[in-house]
Symmetry: C2
Subunit: 395 residues, 2 copies
């Protein structure tokens, strides 16, 4: 992987040991702010490498980006991935990953890792969980066993994982939900974020990101942003969006909320990965995104292409010997035809899932690169228009 | 893949066009004959590269070695793979592969390909098939549709696939079976082989291998070998073994049959891939092997190691951070622990199947390399002893 990663880690560790907190574990260097939109071009410095922003982070829920090796992730251009505290907490468990020397070592990944806090998954369990001020009791989806996560435990687990970016333990309120529910929930998320900060302390090489909640209520979003940013954290996420609300509602919330986040810190929009929302998010000032969409639809046989989604399973491509996307430079498009990939998918062959996943992830990496180039060239709105027209999105 | 493959193919094609059959499409160059055993060290020259023998061929049933890319096959050292006529005949069908420019192009594999004839699969269908002198009528395992394969059709399909080695359409008699059944069946297989030869003609770049049958009856094996070798084919296989009979019976048949095959032609033992049988087969004069064993048990969570089989799914390796086989140089063993691979298998992650498959295939490639080195050093019996002791096989 990256030979320099150990040296970089040591340097960061050293700066903390000396008590000279000259550098945060994770820091956003802003190269350019767009004049036409709120987009920013930057470099996210982490203990495991520098990542150009805006960036899309592939999701590696169970300590693996489904079907991919770390080398393949590097080849498609990924420098940072997301992994899930909830899943790793239950299986294989933090003690095993501690014994393995942390998540990077366990999964052989030399790039940066952001771990979510488990909040999203726990709250998705519905009837299987019980919330208190202390934390959340829930039943494991694996074996039904009784489990408990709190801001302290979720943070401690992430400290064991050794992720570069630790997400605060939050409640992601459902959509729709009442103003009262959203208010109580986001206020608790703010109190919990303070406990996460207290727990992490100045853990060398790890940065805590707070999460703004508040549902689709602008007043609550503002309250939440004020409370979370008051904690002076190295980064901020917008959570609780892309959970079923119309995209216009998400864009409105972003229009309203993002300007409340400090301009010098990275901003991360959680759970967003459709091409249109990536572009719209960047234009509203977002630097980081993650989503299971590209990998999940890949395994279902749907490819992202410059010309819209292509259902590679469909009979229409059975005798189509062109690449999935003729404009794509990924391993799949360089070497295989739609007909072959379709054959693999129809025959339930693992290589089919791999080739689809490689393509979709590379497609989003290329999209993000083009977005960055468009910001640099001060033509992001024009790029949006061109991309939307090609993809078939309404303008 | 291999940039030279096109040039080589053209050269072979040319030699046939000129009517100068100076080179068979596939030819075995024998480098050394062991003095203590019947083992031979050689080079199999094919239109898609030279392969050192004895060789184990990974199985790519549906135009893909399960979970592997062609580049990964090259990395583990595979120069020739097997693919299955029966499966490709049914899906995606020969017409699609013809349109793709043949199987090599369809699946992006620059190495050599041996295709079986479909006989083994068709005869495995039991009640779903009806045999006549003309061929076999059967029902597809995919959709129950009525299908027909004959020596001519099986050969024509393989001509479309463009495999380097075309296997004759044979009947693999079940074990056990009566002397009468085995006699009629192997006699028909010999008549069918002549029809396959007639059908292939001097197809440029393709070599037909005949298959010796005869069940576990030495007299029938001798008759079959006499009939098949009378066809003067570029290679011969021993079929109908490793179908349930005790290994000692297989070794006895090999002791008796292999000497009847011409020494200057490659000899292929079908469906054998356990480490002991590979070594025993080589000592009895076999040059080529194939088997789904390494890839199939990999996906079930069992690894081949120098110290015997390791069930990586077992709880005993849950906290074992050593590689699957500390003596192995494969990608998996270089970068991952047993604990991580077990985690992936338990979590049903595709990467787990990939890492296991890479390891098992590399293990057999290394075994075959060591066998070749032992032949070169004239110490194959000693190597057998050492390997058997380490693996835990009885001597």
């Amino acid at each position: 992987m990256r030979d320099c990663s150990l040296a970089v880690t040591s340097m960061w560790a050293l700066s903390f040991k000396l008590g000279v907190e000259v550098l945060a574990a994770v820091r956003l260097e802003i190269l350019k702010e767009d004049i036409k939109t709120r987009a920013r071009l930057g470099r996210l410095h982490t203990p495991h490498g520098m990542i150009e922003t805006p960036v899309f982070m592939p999701v590696g829920t169970q300590a693996t980006v489904k079907s991919m090796t770390p080398e393949e992730l590097e080849e498609i251009g990924a420098g940072i991935i997301l992994s899930n505290t909830y899943h790793l907490f239950l299986r294989p468990g933090p003690e095993l990953i501690r014994a393995a020397g942390g998540l990077h070592s366990f999964m052989h990944w030399g790039g940066a890792i952001l771990t979510d806090s488990g909040g999203f998954q726990v709250f998705s369990l519905g009837d299987l969980r019980r919330i208190s001020e202390e934390g959340v009791e829930f039943r494991s989806h694996l074996d039904g066993s009784r489990q408990f996560l709190s801001p302290e435990i979720a943070t401690e687990v992430q400290m064991v994982l050794g992720s570069d970016i630790v997400m605060a333990f939050d409640e992601c309120a459902p959509y729709p939900c009442s103003h009262e529910y959203a208010r109580d929930s986001s206020a608790r998320t703010t109190r919990w974020a303070a406990r996460c900060k207290e727990t992490l302390g100045v853990s060398a090489g790890q940065a805590l990101f707070g999460i703004v909640q508040g549902g689709t209520f602008k007043d609550l979003r503002r309250e939440s942003a004020a409370g979370i940013t008051a904690l002076d954290l190295p980064g901020y996420a917008v959570g609780g969006l892309s959970v079923g609300e119309p995209k216009e509602v998400m864009y409105e919330i972003l229009d309203d909320t993002v300007p409340l986040l400090p301009a010098d810190r990275p901003r991360y929009l959680m759970g967003v990965g459709s091409p249109d929302a990536l572009i719209e998010g960047v234009m509203r000032g977002i630097d980081m995104f993650d989503c299971v969409l590209p990998t999940r639809i890949a395994r279902n046989g749907t490819a992202l292409t410059r010309f819209g989604k292509l259902v590679v399973r469909n009979a229409t491509v059975a005798r189509d010997f062109s690449p999935i996307d003729p404009t794509c430079d990924c391993y799949t498009c360089r070497h295989y035809s739609r007909a072959y990939v379709r054959h693999l998918l129809k025959a339930d062959e693992i290589l089919g899932l791999r080739l689809m996943t490689i393509h979709n992830l590379r497609f989003l990496q290329n999209l993000m690169r083009e977005i960055r180039e468009a910001i640099a060239a001060e033509r992001l709105p024009a790029y949006r228009r061109e991309f939307f027209v090609g993809y078939g999105y309404p303008l």
